[in-house]
């Protein structure tokens, strides 16, 4: 098992920027050198198109691609690797479900349940569907503890009849709140067993183990770039029988069986959902990312992050001039901290921190509905991952203090 203490040496970017305090992993993760190498190695040693060519190089490329599919299937405990679809990112994966399943089976008046803590990726596709098919969207509200009060919507008998889908984030990219999926899903399954459940795991899977069979969900979406992998690769997992009845979003080559002047027939799973040439080098990098993560062990990552989160929360508690949006304890909470420095605009905060080599994000974090429910138009946000340390957190707070000095507030 790899030790987390010297982990920064595994990341080229920290060799290039030794003073960088990177606290924006919720936006994208830094990449281990092994991942960067896997990407360039693909082009150096394996480059060829996959599946159709008959030479050894092509076999190598195909093997890399398909073995990654199997690897990811095992990573989330899918029943079959046919249930693993490579997409461009989480957002595309959600579009595939909204278009290929929901648009096909939902009718006017049907309800899709979302929450107020969704990323735009898991809001806008449903808004579009609402316009097109006149479905209704209900949003589970965020309560004072920054958690979801999910029961009232489902307790409403009139609603329940019409609820066909729940599309929910596992963890909030603004609040760090981790939703209790086991509890929510078993409640919903008891209430009405035919509600389809899509879980957006983009923010959670870099930190928490996901077992799709155990969770008893129908669709799962996540991206490679937040879990140490390259950008441009996402995953859609779906139950095999559901994916069979889902229409492909993009159509064209590679996902067809036969094509004539009259019609085209689709390939079997998983090819049906993979149009054209995929991000081959990205998939190779993604495989290296999962391997790297497993060499550390998710359990060790959890221990490390919980420790840091507790440390940060303690300091937030002792800083009355900073307002923290999100749960105040580390139970069911990721190391994602959206905050407001009284009297300062988040953009000024992030600018001044940047001058001290601290990378945080300011803005609405692609969650304008969440911002509205918090009563703000933007926040500053710091987020942790495996390469962060207590020293980073100390530097964060020292820099926040300096903001007060610079802005003379």
């Amino acid at each position: 098992m790899k030790d987390l203490k010297n982990i920064k040496k595994d990341f080229t970017i920290f060799q290039n920027y030794p003073d960088l305090v990177y606290l924006d992993s919720a936006a994208t993760s830094q990449k281990p050198t092994s991942v960067i190498n896997a990407v360039s190695d693909f082009y150096k040693f394996k480059n060829s198109n996959v599946h159709r060519s008959g030479y050894r190089l092509a076999e190598l490329a195909t093997e890399t691609y398909e073995n990654t599919r199997i690897q990811i299937g095992e990573f989330i405990n899918a029943r079959s690797s046919n249930e693993i679809i490579f997409t461009g990112n989480t957002n595309q994966s959600i579009n595939y479900v909204a278009y290929g399943w929901a648009r096909k089976f939902l009718v006017s008046g049907d309800i899709v349940v979302l929450s107020e803590m969704e990323h735009h990726a898991n809001v806008v596709p449903w808004l579009r569907l609402k316009e097109e098919k006149k479905i209704k969207l209900l949003f589970i509200p965020i309560n004072k503890e920054y958690r979801l009060d999910y029961k009232p919507i489902f307790e409403n008998e009139k609603n329940l009849q019409k609820i066909k889908m729940l599309a929910l984030t596992h963890a909030s990219n603004v609040l760090g709140t981790v939703n209790p999926l086991k509890e929510i899903i078993s409640y919903i399954r008891r209430k009405k067993s035919d509600i389809k459940i899509l879980i957006d795991a983009a923010q959670s899977i870099p930190h928490l183990p996901i077992n799709v069979q155990k969770l008893d969900i129908d669709f799962l979406t996540f991206s490679s770039h937040k879990i140490l992998g390259p950008s441009g690769v996402g995953i859609l997992w779906g139950r095999e029988n559901l994916l069979e009845e889902t229409d492909p979003f993009f159509v064209g080559s590679h996902m067809v069986e036969t094509v004539t002047k009259e019609k085209a027939t689709w390939s079997d799973l998983p090819d049906k959902f993979e149009v054209g040439t995929s991000n081959l080098e990205g998939v190779a990098g993604f495989s290296a990312a999962i391997s790297y993560l497993q060499s550390i062990g998710l359990k060790n990552i959890n221990i490390h992050e919980k420790d840091l989160t507790d440390y940060a929360l303690k300091i937030f508690k002792q800083s009355p001039f900073i307002k923290l949006f999100g749960p105040k304890t580390s139970d069911s909470r990721l190391g994602i901290f959206s905050f407001e420095l009284k009297g300062a605009h988040p953009h000024d905060v992030s600018h001044i921190l940047d001058r001290q080599n601290i990378a945080i994000r300011s803005g609405h974090h692609c969650a304008q509905i969440t911002m509205k429910s918090l009563g703000v138009s933007s926040t500053a946000r710091a987020s942790l991952y495996i390469y962060n340390s207590k020293k980073d957190i100390d530097q964060l707070f020292t820099a926040i203090h300096s903001v007060k000095k610079t802005l003379k507030i």
Binding site: H345, H347, I352, H364, L407
Partner: protein, 120 residues
């Protein structure tokens, strides 16, 4: 170390902006947003004989966007519509007298964007 960006002139205009508020009597009322950082500015104008007789701005924004709006709205007072149309980005940025990165340039120009919208 004092950041080059947050000179006293910026901090003063940010904390106590000129022309901040709304007009009861106005000819133009426009709002613009900077999607990336959550800045939004509302600009109101009143004309008299084709010149700006009253001007106000309001909204939520970073120190640069507010300071720039304060300084720029002061600059616009009494200007004719013809001369307003001739103002370019460079002039707006020069009023601030500081170096801006591309990201912060957007903030500084938000009020200018509002003016463009008002003149349409």
């Amino acid at each position: 170390m004092q950041d080059q960006l947050y000179q006293d002139i910026i901090l003063e205009h940010w904390k106590d902006p000129q022309n901040f508020g709304t007009l009861k009597d106005f000819d133009r009322d426009v709002s613009v947003q900077n999607r990336y950082c959550g800045d939004n500015i509302r600009l109101m104008l009143k004309f008299d004989k084709n010149k700006i007789s009253a001007i106000s701005f309001s909204g939520e924004g970073c120190a640069i966007s507010i300071a720039s709006a304060s300084i720029f709205t002061e600059y616009l007072k009494g200007k004719s519509v013809t001369s307003l149309k001739k103002i370019n980005q460079e002039q707006v940025l020069n009023l601030l007298e500081i170096e801006l990165t591309p990201a912060r340039t957007k903030c500084a120009l938000l009020i200018f964007q509002a003016l463009q919208k008002a003149l349409v």
